[in-house]
Amino acid sequence: MLTAPLETGRPDLAVTLAGVSLEHPVLNASGTFDALETARRFGAGALEPFPFAAYVPKTVTLEARAGNPPPRVTETASGMINAVGLQNPGIAAWLDELPLLAGVPVPVVVNIGGSRRADYLEVLRRVEARLEVHDTDLPRVIGYELNVSCPNVGGGGLAIGTQPAETARLTAAARALTRRLIIVKLTPNVTDIVAVARAAADAGADAVSLVNTLRALVLDPQSLTPCLGNRTGGLCGPAIKPVALRMVWEIASALDVPIIGMGGIVSGRDALEFVACGATAVAIGAANFTGPEAPLRIVAELAAEMRRRGLTDLAAVRGRALSRT
């Protein structure tokens, strides 16, 4: 009975990510949720309330990318593998559609991919330039997520994100181009995640997000040849959650940089575990494919989980899993 007030009141889910206030800690992982397509399929009601505290559109690159040959996705034990290959219309066409996102009621983080450092920077420059022109309503872009961790494209991507020095060079150059947030999305395909996170943070990143997918291979059971058109792909879903938790935990133990944790979150308890490992916010990826109800369910479960544990806010549990030294 001592905790009665907590059982009835809704816990405070609000978080502040690198100075930006968010209503709750749950974002979407880039490429797993599309606000416009959701409105087209289900009607605007599906976006009221908006299912995420911030919206991260699918990766955009300088030039249009056709993507990888199909098949691009298949289910695996406790997860899925994908090799989409950053299919997107390129930054010019992407900017044409940017005003359509003006109605998104949450902050937007633009996810940028590329083959070379210069390409990332040119995309960022063009978005910044567009945001300077006030000819029409635009979404509230609070920052950029640099996707230096896509396992399914040649060059760029992993070639940057596995190298602390390359990550630092890109981050520093991007930092110089904007006052908005720079978030570096890290790959788990490294032996020392802290080294890459430190390189990003020291170069001026406001936050890191992790993990992107783990390089993986799935065979067709009949032919015993690779299932995916790209042959290898990226593994995601609950299968990778323990790996993701360990990496978030390592970074939070070593550095002060804010963390967006992701990798296999399918429940409110999963989300809370990432916070306990030091994450400020979390992102939902593969769980979006379990059905359109998933994100709001996870937010509701997170609130229920906090209530059950008598937690009034997330700060009370953030970092609980970290070693005390």
Partner: protein
């Protein structure tokens, strides 16, 4: 698209205004026509439903086209629905699901994403609508892998979590006669096509090709007046492929070819139709993750580049897909 200007469109406006307009129009519309309910996590069996007669003939649209105001209103629902009947055809199952809000707006050629019962699967499986009768959907399930096997094993009174209807339908407005060509489980949506055309008095002939006697048991799941069957090994009906059968059965010069099946079969149907001067549409199969246009996981190679089967299709003009040969691993047919 006779009602494409009635407000049920995504125009070039920004999302907030479109949102308001759609919601407002849906309510107005609901009083006149069909139901319109908001998707709500608190009430998982309801979904926003709004439709127009014009939508029923909407051809496949790209996202870009949608933004130009050519895409009809959102109509999909998401929730848990009860299985009220199950029929078996060998290993295949024909599930009847009570899903009034999905059924009310479903069109031939559309599909649903069905959650696999049990906790071990994460991706939903795309299932085309075999037919719709009043508030009921019928889904024909082939147990290809563990997920579809669990779906096929769904019993009466079980619930299925579904999202749909999704994707484009077959544009049937101008069809004066139809030759339906189905390959294996791909024949599934052609029952819905036949039902709609029969209601309109349009003559329909169907040519279905199956692997063998076992798969040919699927033929019993169809009620089409003029149905022809072939098997690859000749154990049932004519020996040969669906395309060879279609060629033998033939079609008048006014007939539309409406096909559904694996990619290699669709390529053969396209070549044959072009050779004999027929046009039509094909519904394609693909591995999917989201089913709603977000992930770009289900693309097929077309003359316009990689298009998403889930929202740009699954129905495409017959001559749009390009044959790219068997993908590594045999693609969707291999069950990987």
């Amino acid at each position: 698209m006779s009602e494409s200007d009635d407000g049920f469109v995504m125009t070039g406006e920004r999302l907030s205004r479109t949102v308001t307009r759609l919601a407002g129009r849906c309510v107005t519309r609901a009083s006149k026509k069909r139901s319109c309910r908001a998707i709500a996590s608190a009430a998982p069996t309801t979904g926003r439903v709004c439709t127009t007669a014009g939508m029923a003939e909407a051809p496949p649209r790209s996202a870009a086209a949608a933004l130009r105001g050519e895409q009809a209103c959102a109509a999909a629902a998401s929730g848990s629905y009860r299985v009220v009947e199950r029929r078996s055809f060998g290993p295949y199952a024909l599930l009847t699901v009570l899903a009034p809000d999905v059924a009310a707006v479903a069109r031939p050629g559309q599909f649903v994403m069905a959650a696999v019962p049990g906790p071990q699967f994460h991706l939903r499986r795309p299932l085309s609508l075999h037919s719709v009768e009043g508030p009921r959907l019928r889904l024909l399930v082939e147990p290809r892998g563990e997920g579809t096997r669990a779906l096929a094993d769904t019993g009466v009174a079980d619930t299925l979590a579904l999202t749909g209807p999704l994707g484009s339908g077959f544009p049937l407005g101008d069809v004066r006669a139809a030759l339906l060509v189905g390959g294996g489980i791909g024949a599934a949506p052609l029952q819905f096509v036949a039902d709609v055309l029969r209601e309109r008095g349009v003559p329909v002939t169907a040519a279905f090709g199956f692997r063998d006697e076992g798969q040919a048991r699927l033929a019993a799941a169809f009620e089409v007046d003029d149905l022809w069957v072939a098997t690859d090994d000749g154990t049932v009906g004519r020996r040969g492929t669906a395309v060879e059968l279609a060629s033998a059965v033939g079609a008048g010069p006014q007939a539309s070819v409406l096909a559904c099946g694996p990619a290699p079969m669709i390529a053969q149907v396209g070549s044959w139709a072009a050779a004999v001067g027929l046009t039509g549409y094909a519904s394609l199969e693909a591995h999917m993750a989201c089913g709603t246009g977000a992930c770009h996981g289900c693309v097929v190679a077309t003359r316009e580049g990689y298009l998403r089967v889930c929202v740009d299709g699954p129905v495409f003009p017959l001559d749009l897909p390009v044959a790219t040969g068997e993908p590594p691993g045999g693609g969707v047919e291999a069950g990987c």
